[in-house]
Symmetry: C2
Subunit: 186 residues, 2 copies
Amino acid sequence: MKDAAGGERLGGRRLYEGKVLALDLDEVEEPGGVRAMREVVRHSGSVAVLPVHEDGSITLVRQYRWPARALVWELPAGRRDAGETPEQGARRELVEEVGLEVERLEKIAEFWTTPGFCDEVMHLFRGSGLRAVPPRPEQDERIEARRFTLDQAMGAVARGEIREGKTLVALLLEARRVEGQPPEAS
Amino acid sequence: MKDAAGGERLGGRRLYEGKVLALDLDEVEEPGGVRAMREVVRHSGSVAVLPVHEDGSITLVRQYRWPARALVWELPAGRRDAGETPEQGARRELVEEVGLEVERLEKIAEFWTTPGFCDEVMHLFRGSGLRAVPPRPEQDERIEARRFTLDQAMGAVARGEIREGKTLVALLLEARRVEGQPPEAS
């Protein structure tokens, strides 16, 4: 069946079904009649939260990411569990990773992380009204949490020390919110 | 061999090797002694350019993305070809996709698109000093290019009409550059 944009799956097969992702090789007809084989990573979607404290400071986490082979500063985040709304997932990850319960969650962006070959959707929230509770990391997670002023975080962005997509989007949106912006013209 | 952060590959296997990506199942020891099996999508890296015209307007492209099953507004972008520097790739994609030659390329960000399960690095550039040449799209690409004022683009961001990671990062960085920012405190 064609999707709203006019694309259609003609055939293909699942190459791999794993714990975190699946991989499909799809034969598709895209709008305009282009026929192609497309490799697609299937992912259940992700949630991430920018936790903003009363004084405007924020909490980021640093953890080892095997694909990057580096310790990466990023937002508290994780995969959506089955049956969970993005909001529920965001609240859960914030408790697990940094021990923060959040009163208010505001959706600030929703985007594809890398739509050329992957269907992952990132649901990005701003969390405020924070309350400390004991964190409970998953067994295979080692997470360092640290609090930054927004200026410190934006300095780290400018120096290229924050190098992760969702985290850049969230910090830049927060800076825009705090620093103000000119009235929109069009 | 351990990497600089202390992670080490103990074993594993390649599950798939394709045209755009490969998939590995790695057995790893992460810093702190966590042993885990990790599914990792391997990718050669990507380049993207925000083309900024003399009057400050920018060019975005819209194309169908099968994983998203939607027409997606985004920066001119593509995979790094073998043996190509990110700069060379950025220049090539800009000619191919929108028919623009660029005089000045400035690196504005470098980030992992989704480092939990994928090693893709995005090299993000701002291009200026643009000159029109005939575009030459790849055979399986149907690309619509359109020019926007920055205000128009930021309006589309605010309304959730731009929903792609690298494009959000680039537009937010450009808005910050144009609208100014307070002197950095720390």
